[in-house]
């Protein structure tokens, strides 16, 4: 039974959820005695009002595209991968090991090699939860949560005891070789004579993220593997009946998911900090959950949602700078978006469905 036209399902429900989340956030701001309007204008001005703001917004959005795609690919196989945080952290380790140990003369050569390192480490970190889910039925949500903590402890150990340069107090690796540093977007604009976003971390990884969106779309909707992933996600008995091996597809979907999360490290570790620091992911793995939910697990939706969260992130930083509202406001908005688009989806959807149903009845009669 088709209850709603497709456009309502794809556009209207996320929009209403977003409005609800924003409305409640505005109430929270009012409750702590600040003006929601001032907060909003500060955020828009700080994140979108200058090329400087855009440079940060796009940088954050790049992170969230990768983690959002990671959640979405797993979700199509009906696996909830909460482990993006740990997988992205391990991706960072992969990038650091590659760049510190393999001499690479130019960034254009270093980029693909580092991408392989990032994706391999991210995928490897997703592999054990995947195989345990597929073969032994261990709940992937719990195992990926546990693997986030194990990754944090492991990175802490590696940074303090192995990668830390002699004499340094900072739990961070040495700087990567100068020639492997990725060009920032500001350099690209400067090359064509435009001054844009000076001193911002946005770099060419943004284009890789866009390409990743396209590739994930092709994978999910235009390939046999994508069909098998979706079939498994819709109904496991159905997929098995169609001759699909659930163990194989579960593991492959999670490897792709972990690899995508790991690729985020190209942006934050190779592109921004240019060395591996403690807690480099800064929660981007979790924001991927909100981004994927908001974007309805479609790469184009994820791109838009990632831009929205990039805006919120940069705007939130500006908010903390210019007003007395701490940047944790963003965490509240993020929580509300996850709540309304994910958990309370039916609360938004059911009245809408009723509305469309009644309209169709009166229209048909």
């Amino acid at each position: 039974m088709d209850k709603m036209p497709k456009w309502a399902d794809v556009i209207l429900t996320p929009l209403i959820s977003l409005v609800l989340a924003m409305g409640i956030s505005a109430l929270v701001i009012l409750a702590i005695g600040e003006s929601p309007w001032v907060a909003l204008t500060t955020m828009v001005e700080g994140a979108l009002g200058s090329s400087y703001g855009w440079g940060f917004t796009l940088y954050y959005a790049t992170n969230f595209i990768f983690t959002g795609l990671a959640v979405a690919v797993a979700y199509h196989a009906s696996l909830f991968n909460i482990g993006g945080e740990g997988q992205a952290a391990m991706g960072g380790l992969g990038v650091a090991l590659v760049l510190l140990n393999i001499p690479l003369p130019h960034w254009a050569l270093a980029l693909p090699v580092a991408m392989v390192g990032a994706a391999l480490f991210g995928a490897a970190w997703a592999f054990i939860p995947a195989i345990l889910q597929a073969k032994r039925g261990s709940h992937i949500v719990i195992t990926t949560i546990m693997f986030n903590f194990i990754a944090a402890a492991l990175l802490n150990y590696v940074l303090v005891n192995i990668l830390r340069p002699v004499g340094s107090m900072d739990p961070a690796s040495a700087r990567f070789p100068e020639q492997t540093n990725l060009p920032a977007l500001t350099d690209l604009f400067a090359a064509i004579g435009i001054e844009w976003g000076r001193n911002t971390p946005a770099n060419i990884t943004f284009f890789i993220a866009l390409a990743a969106c396209l590739l994930v779309w092709v994978l999910i909707w235009r390939t046999r593997l994508g069909f098998e992933i979706r079939a498994l996600g819709k109904s496991e008995p159905g997929a098995v009946y169609a001759g699909i091996n659930p163990v194989r597809i579960t593991v492959i979907a999670m490897l792709i998911s972990g690899g995508l999360a790991g690729l985020m490290a190209i942006n934050n570790v190779m592109g921004e900090s240019e060395r591996l620091v403690l807690n480099a992911v800064e929660g981007a793995g979790f924001i991927g959950i909100a981004v994927a939910l908001m974007g309805r697990n479609h790469p184009f939706g994820i791109l838009l949602a990632a831009l929205l969260f990039g805006f919120l992130y940069q705007g939130g930083g500006e908010l903390a700078l210019w007003t007395s509202i701490p940047r944790e406001l963003i965490v509240v908005i993020q929580a509300l978006v996850i709540l309304f688009t994910g958990a309370l989806d039916n609360m938004v959807r059911m009245p809408l469905e009723r509305l469309f149903l009644s309209r169709r009845r009166t229209g048909g009669a």
Partner: protein, 342 residues
Amino acid sequence: MNLKDSFIAIIVLAICILWALADGPAAQQGIGSALRLMTPLLLACLAGLYSERAGVFDIGLEGKMLMAAFTSASVAFLTGSAWLGLAAGIAGALVLSLIHGLASITFKGNQLISGVAINFLASGLTVLVGQNAFGLGGRTPSLTGAGRFNPITLPFADAVRDMPVLGPIYSGLVSGHTILVYVAFALVPLTWWVLFRTRFGLRLRAVGENPASVDTAGVSVTRLRYAAVAICGVLTGIAGAYLATALSAGFVKEMTAGRGFIALAALIFAKWRPWQALFATFLFGLLEAIANLYPNLDLGFVTVPSMFMNALPYILTVVILAGFVGRAVPPRAGGEPYVKER
């Protein structure tokens, strides 16, 4: 209880006895510290036990504890009463429980996603409101005197202090904790009794295994699940209040530090049973205490870094989940909203 079920208990007791034989005073200090550290884990673990036994997965234990820690510390500071703080902690956690109930029971949403949202909601709101109310970067002012739960000395603790074996155990370990520690321990047999010896407990477990049968018997699945989620809220509330008003003297940003997830791990470790939950949380408390006492534990042949001790609860849980050491099977209807047949 057969030998396999007492596996964790035997390991935990073996660690304690070996430790006591190797270094008595250090063991007394370490085990006492483990008892204090395990209390929030035990409370949160039992909270999760009620919820998940009723078929509502809860990965929002962390957020509820955090919210309770904040509300309890704030109210305890403003009123100067730890007991009012405790009530506020329970109220804070209950509000989040209600949201979880609405999402996962009434609107039949995804329980895991709801839990994730609740964790972030607590993480953001506590700092947002805390910074606004106290201006200390998300901390609450330090609690003193009656604003905290203070250690109590049990009767005869002084009288038996000099007796061998019993003395150090009773006056050194059993006595001298805050009231909430004893509450947490008392809740273990109580939970066992409620779940396995009362009609409510039978129905609660049934609703987690086969809600349709409970519905057929004319008992409301919705009401039972809400009751379980509410109990979960009360217990995480006590856990959070304990963290902020007994274990430490006030709220600090992100003070739960993953304890909600360790409690979740302990719940799986305990295979959703109360007595095993006691020993699983004791084991994890011991690991934390050992990691605190010996940052680099030298076992003679290998030096164990504290990071490994901190990660051990998670690693052990994955091993248990993998089913290589006794399989952990969750309640069958866990995670699924109940939809009445029409």
